[in-house]
Symmetry: C2
Subunit: 207 residues, 2 copies
Amino acid sequence: MARPRTIPDDEKAQRAKYHHGDLKRALTDAALQLVQEKGPRGFTLREVARRAGVSAAAPYRHFADKSQLLAAAAAQGFVQLHEALDATVAANPDLSEQAVAMGKAYVQWAVSHPDYYQVMFGSELDKTESPEVLTAGARAFDDLLDTIKRCQQAGLLPAGDPHATAGPIWSLLHGISMLTIGSDLTHVGIREETEALTERSLRQLLF
Amino acid sequence: MARPRTIPDDEKAQRAKYHHGDLKRALTDAALQLVQEKGPRGFTLREVARRAGVSAAAPYRHFADKSQLLAAAAAQGFVQLHEALDATVAANPDLSEQAVAMGKAYVQWAVSHPDYYQVMFGSELDKTESPEVLTAGARAFDDLLDTIKRCQQAGLLPAGDPHATAGPIWSLLHGISMLTIGSDLTHVGIREETEALTERSLRQLLF
DNA sequence: ACCTGAACACCGTTCAAGT
DNA sequence: ACCTGAACACCGTTCAAGT
């Protein structure tokens, strides 16, 4: 029953700030949660504002429009994906398996965060208008690029511009992720497990 | 088995039917046009009704809801894609190049009909609720499957369930299409032409 | 400086009423 | 049988007004 009477101004400031000062963070947090709950389809500016305990007009002090708020959520998604890829690299020091492991991790993250992934790559988002998303996305892509470079230096992959190798790989991983999320593969009779499909096609493309 | 006693004049019936009887076709036509004009984002039930010269409530006599109307448009997209693939097969009787030619035709169609393609694979569409889309999609997929089978019989591709070969190929083609439409490849510094990227990665995956 | 309240123009959807 | 008009609950966005 400690009364907050003697509590440092720190906490008070924090509380006070939540609704005037750090509304931006409160809104992105709510947006993140809403995307995960309802997907891109159910994402509404007014609902985000409601969850942040604020009027429908308030978000416009911090985001130009709805798509900019969605972009903030998408950027967070790329950060999470980047962290997942980073962790995989750290957990797989063996270079000969690192590329395959990272590919599997990419798809694994995508299919276990389908709403996120669809926001990150869906047509609702105009990436051109949101440098935040572009840099966050580039950071995740760099993980792939770095692994390719290391493999090249170790002689496991042919030398040359790593982008030339990254293009096909990323396209494949993105395709598997999207088609799996949309259940399109099973709809046409492809019942192979996502992980097996990923590993198999990646090896075929790489080696 | 009671058939109508008087068969009305064809042309007159056609004309009269357009606004009472063939509203369904008028609506899907308008939907098709609207998708091509404004993309999935600007697609509105009310606008479609407006273009068909009908009240906002009228479409509900022919479609359960907005997504069912969008599904009708998506199905048409798959039909068009199927026709493009068919034409490519007919124009490339040489089996050794048919698979690559078809892959290029797939991506080519996708990037030249970006709004269509995004509707066909976007999150706005619930394919499960629309058998029309599923069968139209399966028909396009069968083109790929057939070419793979023929290549297998000619010894150009390893024998086995053609689905096992189709999975990686389709995933790659879909990934290239989507990432190109979204400009994601150029955003991360991959400036290779779409056609070159497609051909190169397809050959690497296949041979 | 930051937020609210009210307003505007638009949606998707429903339903009684018209023809 | 098929369509309209009006209504409802919801949007995204703007802006004067409050604190």
